[in-house]
Symmetry: C2
Subunit: 532 residues, 2 copies
């Protein structure tokens, strides 16, 4: 480790969450403003240090969501991403300025391959852009983060020159991203050590790591970064993000906490919120977590095979290095039934961190009653699913009226579906299909009179049991736009119909927004640059 | 790194696949013999060095599957797991002896916590058991692997004593497992270095690593092990296994290959088989792979957001460090339609690695025609799903006859289902429910006249498009046994019904096997010891 790394007593590692920026760039995720704000509130409850709320220049929707988070969410630093362009930095600043702790994060690539093929410019120009961008950001905002994109594939001397410029211009955080998930712990350690030697000023700022998981090393590389001196880790809930995603927030947090004996580091995260945060992000993005995912996977703590159970019963630590309740599993015993009243529901929702009042509470109660009539017990997991589902319902767009379907192995399925149009009118469509879901989707297209292409369809159960709520995610392409929608119901055909109508709404609304508002000329060039 | 590590020119790393042993111990996976053999054939095509085919003492079914793999699968070493008990080692040897390259793998814990709480014995006894077990195994089989279980939490000096005994008794491979996924790359490196110093004989055997992913470090720890001198990595396809699973095979293989510039190591794996192997294991185990899973996740190579696409188009390496075709994605262009004949189907299946002939080909062709009538194009992915689905069909157990259902948002659903009983008779059940799937499941239970508890229900689409095949996984508990079943159809209600009937069959058959054959007294004590 280089001499310039932080003093050994600075053992607090900052958690920089990029679920809403890098995570949200994953294919098919289409979070609306309300959903982003809800996730940001949960991240604040989780106790992350920084929320990268979005990339404001990229679209009016992204701008508004970042602005709403900056205004409403208290506690963490709220960060907006910007290329080195003036328009990006102005947009980021305008979006985050209402926050009590705003941060502008600006970046430019330092790797040969990016400079040559993507930026198509010179090394001198990269240095000039970095200098101007950090200076401009600093004139607007005290807290400025700079990232030399694709640093781990870049010449370390050139990257050091650019980082030194950023530090000289007042950057408070310098992030060294492994943008394509290429480095290894040893190599990253060497690289960071060399940077500390070449840029003495790094000792006075927070060094950050941002690792992608293309070779399965995002957590290990982030950890190596911390051992080499970094005191901020950029990560995302459930490890979502570009391609194989970012460092998984829950894994790096629990690694640091569980192995604090080895290294002495820790974060400020309240780990008991990890399980709920994971479920919320999985539900709202439609990105499922695999059963064998560390920390938050269904089996992460399971010994159901019976083979490990004996050991676990005798002594928990025989096969468990973490206590499931420490990450918020099995800690909640909320159970409501069909006789539970509005007050009990409100209390239960508050325990779960949802503040639901007035009309929203009435609507949630109505929905709760419908579910309680069908399910014997309504648990915390069910309530989370119902509230999240209600959050998706928008009165200004398409909605599901009613549906009916006949199907079987010996006849063609037939479906009739009524869709509520944005005008308030109801339109009924009818269709056959390869199966009842296909028939329902056909009937919805007939009712809305539109075409689209189904890209993905998944169903999972919220809880166990015959009467479990089914949660359906649909991803489709319509009007040149990829959009997703989710739906929840005890009847998976109903959940499928809701999810499909919502995905279509998202696609059609998005297309309408684009046409109505246009895109700034700068944003239109965006595809060239995705961020660290 | 210790002086005793292998010479620098021995840069070939052996891949030891434990999908069928540690992977198969995951909750709810219930692979039958035919499915295990099919996976083993695919592992041979993939080019792994060792297949750990099972833990023969644990059940007659496991024994038979290991025996069939030893007899039929050529190429890799076929390994059977055994505790240090004589009965385990005899059973393992009897199961694998037909292989051209058999290996017995025996293990005993060396950690204080395991010795005290699980084995409830003394250090001397552990040494004695290790000595006797390796000696016995060596008297039967030239190739013997020994694992000190939970080594990374054990005293290194004691573990070294036990390893020295194993080497002295003729072990050819010594595996140092991180059984509970607790270690870090630095700590593991130090631990292995110290072992090399304490046990000079390790220089003459293959040292192996077996890492679990509880803290997200399985790949990084395995990689650290290789850098420290290990030349065998134990891993599982899709990273399945106890709790958060094992080191992911595809990740360690592609890490070693992609970063061979950094370290010079490589494996003998044909990476172009990775994607197909992943799909097969996911399908047969019912364990889905999350979209952001490295190498084999749906998004691992995706830049669909449009944001990275520009860079990728300009120059692939801007954002991709691996070529998707190198891991077998996008490499297959098989497309059949409803006019394709039996010969075309047979050819296509052979290209996919399935040898299907005679009655099985007739059955596959019939099924293909049914699907081709409903789908415009039948792709390689569809064929894999159909063939896998046929592999699950067993004439000697329960089967789906026909079903019909009526459902909608304004009425109670009603389902009637005919189930083919093992006797050959058909039994019809009828039921209502919370939704059409619940009603179908109720009707199946009525037809079979049994009770069970649904634990999990997931649906995913095999390919894109409205006419995609739906793949349903059901996990349930019946007669004290957790069992899963899968079903494939263009109609998800049909797929659900097939999956449910199969899961129930697996549960009822398993219970019947247990009652009929009994378990050896030794196996009945098994729950105390799960393996490395």
């Amino acid at each position: 480790m280089a001499g310039q790394a932080p003093a050994p007593d600075s053992n607090r590692v900052q958690i920089f969450d990029t679920t809403l920026r890098d995570g949200e760039q994953s294919p098919g995720i289409s979070l609306n403003k309300q959903e982003k704000v809800e996730i940001a509130h949960q991240l604040a409850r989780l106790g992350v240090d920084v929320i990268e709320a979005g990339f404001p220049i990229t679209s009016p929707g992204d701008f508004e969501a970042v602005e709403a988070i900056a205004r409403e969410v208290e506690g963490p630093v709220v960060c907006g991403l910007a290329r080195t362009h003036k328009a990006d930095i102005d947009s980021a600043w305008n979006a985050i300025r209402a926050s009590q702790r705003p941060r502008i994060h600006t970046f430019i690539s330092t790797s040969e391959i990016h400079i040559q093929h993507q930026l198509q410019t010179t090394h001198e120009d990269v240095k000039g852009q970095a200098r101007a961008a950090v200076a401009l950001a600093k004139s607007l905002c005290e807290d400025v983060e700079f990232s030399p994109m694709d640093a781990t594939r870049a010449d370390v001397d050139f990257t050091a020159e650019v980082c030194a410029i950023a530090v000289a211009e007042g950057a408070t955080v310098v992030n060294i991203p492994d943008t394509v998930g290429y480095t290894t712990p040893e190599e990253y350690t060497r690289y960071l050590g060399r940077l500390y030697e070449l840029v003495p000023g790094l000792a006075d700022v927070v060094v950050s790591v941002h690792c992608h998981d293309d070779l399965g090393l995002a957590v290990a590389n982030s950890y190596a970064g911390v051992l080499a001196g970094a005191r901020q880790v950029e990560c995302a809930v459930n490890g979502i993000g570009e391609r194989a995603g970012n460092c998984s927030l829950e894994e790096i947090v629990m690694l640091l906490r569980t192995r604090t004996d080895e290294h002495g580091f820790d974060t400020g995260v309240d780990a008991r919120e990890l399980a709920r945060t994971s479920r919320m992000v999985s539900r709202l993005t439609g990105y499922q977590v695999q059963p064998n995912k560390a920390i938050v996977g269904r089996n992460a703590f399971a010994h159901e095979s019976g083979i490990h159970q004996d050991g676990v019963l005798k002594e928990r630590t025989t096969y468990e290095i973490m206590d499931p309740t420490a990450v918020g599993l099995e800690s909640n015993s909320i159970v409501l039934g069909k006789h539970s009243g509005r007050h009990a529901l409100k209390d239960a929702l508050e325990q779960l961190g949802f503040k639901v009042e007035g009309g929203a509470l009435n609507q949630a109660f109505k929905r709760f009653k419908e579910v309680a009539d069908r399910k014997k017990q309504v648990t915390a997991l069910d309530l989370e699913a119902i509230v999240s589902d209600e959050m998706r319902e928008r009165t200004d767009s398409y909605g599901l009226g009613w549906f009916e379907v006949e199907a079987g192995s010996r006849k063609e399925p037939v479906a009739r579906v009524a869709v509520r149009l944005p005008s308030g009118e109801e339109s009924v469509g009818e269709s056959g299909g390869d199966g009842p879901v296909d028939a329902i989707f056909g009937a919805i297209r007939a009712a809305i009179e539109t075409e689209c292409e189904l890209r993905q369809f998944t169903v999972s159960a919220v809880t166990e049991g015959e009467d479990a709520l089914g949660e359906v995610t649909v991803m489709l392409r319509a009007h040149g736009r990829l959009a997703s929608g989710q739906g929840v119901a005890t009847d998976i055909l109903e959940a499928s119909a809701r999810a499909y109508v919502r995905a279509l709404s998202n696609a059609l609304d998005g297309a309408a927004v684009r046409e109505a508002e246009g895109l700034t000329e700068d944003a239109a060039r965006l595809p060239a640059t995705p961020g660290p």
